[in-house]
């Protein structure tokens, strides 16, 4: 009984010793041969190393040769003839089409050369403006780890620098433009952007009823189609004039206006109240004369001149009140010489007993980015 147990134990020990000794024998006879595999990735632990010969590369375990390959590469570089490589704890080996690619840190070899150059993740550019079209924000959204400086320069119609600002990508850039006009915006952030955009900030006049817009003097009698003449003075103030004389009627009635400060856009409204009672060379288009000034923050309507025997009513839209009667002439009612609207748009009405001359126009700030 005891003898049988001893025999079993010694037989087991002998088999283990044989296995350990056998694992130290040359390739194919050990416990752990490197499998022959055409396209494979290996993790080799132990004393593996590789040597490049003139016509093959050999993988050794200790002193015995485990496998042969066409050529060996380490970290993307081919081995020189006679060069040895060994790694510390583990050797990572990729065998593809009989070529061995070795890495000690597990970085896989990558096939394919770089043909694209810079490869930045896409940056989303979002442009936004406030309600009043004077302050603008360009937002750059990207999942970048570091920040890049971006410069934004704004040039006006005459090529002068109207505004400039710097910021970062990712991040935002804010700038403001004081006067209505067309602008060119240069976004410069190497290597991302070197591009130009058009920015148009303007007051759009629409919904015209018996009204016409002029950018210089107009002395014609345009009744009955036009009872309200709108003179756009913005470009004169932008060019630096201190004052301007606006002639409105055939008789040469004129109004002298001085340059406002801090103006976005400026208009003179000249209205005629009667279709037949004033003759052409009489005082036409001077019955109600108002000035509509868009400042940085609001819209200011100021009375310049009123005359004639008819009653007049001047209305404007002003949120949240809606249509507001601000001025009456020759009748009972509000007598406001100046009215401020803190909204981006307004509509102005001129009314008299001669409803054939009632006029209307809508003014709205508009900013376009392209």
């Amino acid at each position: 009984m005891i003898a049988l147990r001893d025999i079993l134990i010694f037989a087991g020990l002998a088999a283990l010793a044989a296995a350990v000794i056998a694992s130290l024998f040359p390739a194919g006879e050990g416990a752990s041969p490197v499998p022959a595999c055409s396209d494979c990735a290996f993790k080799l632990t132990g004393g593996y190393w590789m040597r490049q010969y003139g016509n093959y590369a050999a993988l050794y375990l200790g002193t015995r040769e485990a496998a042969r390959y066409g050529w060996a590469y380490i970290d993307g570089r081919p081995l020189e003839i006679g060069e040895n490589i060994a790694c510390g704890s583990a050797m990572y080996l990729w065998v593809i089409n009989g070529i061995a690619y070795v890495s000690c840190d597990g970085t896989p070899p990558r096939f394919g050369r770089d043909v694209l150059g810079p490869k930045l993740p896409f940056v989303d550019v979002r442009f936004s403006s406030d309600l009043r079209c004077t302050s603008y924000t360009i937002r750059f959204e990207a999942n970048l780890t570091e920040h890049y400086v971006v410069t934004v320069e704004v040039y006006d119609e005459e090529g002068r620098l109207a505004a400039s600002a710097t910021g970062t990508i990712p991040g935002l850039v804010s700038f403001s433009i004081p006067v209505a006009g067309a602008y060119r915006v240069h976004i410069y952030a190497p290597p991302f952007f070197d591009e130009w955009h058009t920015l148009i900030a303007q007051v759009r006049i629409s919904d015209l009823v018996r009204a016409q817009v002029f950018t210089s003097n107009d002395t014609q009698d345009l009744r009955p189609s036009t009872s309200l003449k709108i003179f756009n003075l913005t470009s004169y103030w932008k060019r630096g004039y201190r004052s301007a004389i606006v002639r409105v009627s055939p008789a040469g009635a004129s109004f002298t206006l001085s340059a406002p400060s801090n103006v976005f856009a400026d208009f003179l409204l000249a209205w005629e109240d009667c279709l037949t009672c004033d003759y052409t060379y009489g005082p036409v288009y001077v019955d109600e004369v108002w000035r509509l000034t868009f400042t940085q923050t609001s819209i200011v309507l100021t009375r310049v001149y009123s005359q004639e025997g008819f009653w007049h009513e001047v209305y404007v839209t002003s949120p949240p009140y809606g249509r507001v009667l601000i001025w009456t002439w020759n009748k009972e009612g509000p007598k406001l010489n100046s009215y401020t609207i803190s909204w981006f748009a307004t509509t102005v009405w001129f009314e008299s007993p001669d409803s054939a001359m009632n006029a209307r126009a809508t003014f709205a700030r508009e900013c376009l980015w392209g």
Partner: protein, 257 residues
């Protein structure tokens, strides 16, 4: 007592040998480059319709996985409003795509550098595309080039217009809603092509002659299919509404957004 000690020692020796052998046995997995390449191209193909579309070259130079487009206007018949409508479309003219697998980097750069009307040797009118082509894995042995000839151009644009009304953003010819969605509206014709390698600047130029009625060419690096258009051709066709053609490109001014 002694037998138990012998037994434990034997067990320890066996355990050591088993563990040592397990730790030192070569650990291996198979590497399938073809699968990785297919996966990379398949990923690009499935994400292609959602890649950002850029119309400025400065962005196209640096960003990856973007589509360069040209803006244009198309005319379609709106069946709901019962009138002709003009709407903006994007015409794909370039790609910068990259996707890396475990052991392979797939990159493709395509850019339509020129396209113009030309006559084939037998006198048929054709449009000749010159496409700059760069590829991370050398040249493409399996490159296929097709021309997409619409059965009815108005029908095609009306179909695109339905996406414009639904999404309120310009659809891209050949890419909206995905590549190959217009299979019932176009006929894919195999076309002649030639690849010319220029060693001085390491670029290859692909010359493709397509029928003049074609809307776009479809480059196939299977399974990745990339449509490319000729903006000058489309502008002149829509300007002359198909009856007459001029070789003068119409210039679309950028519309403010």
């Amino acid at each position: 007592m002694w037998s138990l000690a012998y037994g434990l020692i034997a067990l320890a020796v066996v355990a050591f040998v088993v563990l040592y052998a397990a730790a030192h046995a070569p650990n291996f997995t198979t590497v399938n480059l073809a699968d990785q390449l297919y996966g990379a191209k398949g990923w690009l193909a499935s994400n292609l319709p959602s890649f950002p579309r850029v119309d400025s070259t400065s962005r196209f130079r640096v960003f990856v996985n973007v589509v360069r487009v040209a803006k244009a206007n198309a005319t379609a018949y709106d069946y709901r409003m019962r009138q002709w409508v003009a709407f903006p479309i994007y015409l794909p003219v370039g790609y910068r795509l990259e996707r890396a697998g475990e052991n392979v980097v797939y990159q493709i750069y395509l850019n339509v550098t020129r396209c113009r009307y030309a006559a084939l040797p037998r006198g048929e009118p054709a449009v000749l595309y010159e496409i700059e082509l760069r590829h991370s894995l050398g040249q493409l042995p399996w490159l296929d080039v097709y021309a997409a000839v619409p059965h009815n151009l108005t029908q095609y644009y009306s179909w695109l217009h339905s996406y414009y009304t639904a999404w309120r953003r310009p659809p891209a010819v050949g890419l909206t809603p995905r590549v190959g969605a217009d299979v019932r509206l176009v006929e894919l014709v195999k076309v002649e092509w030639a690849l010319v390698y220029d060693a001085t600047n390491d670029t290859a130029r692909l010359y493709v002659a397509v029928p003049a009625a074609a809307l776009y060419v479809l480059l196939v690096d299977y399974p990745l299919k990339l449509p490319l258009t000729c903006p000058e051709q489309i502008a002149s066709v829509s300007a002359s509404s198909g009856s007459q053609r001029s070789d003068t490109p119409t210039i679309d001014l950028p519309s403010p957004r």
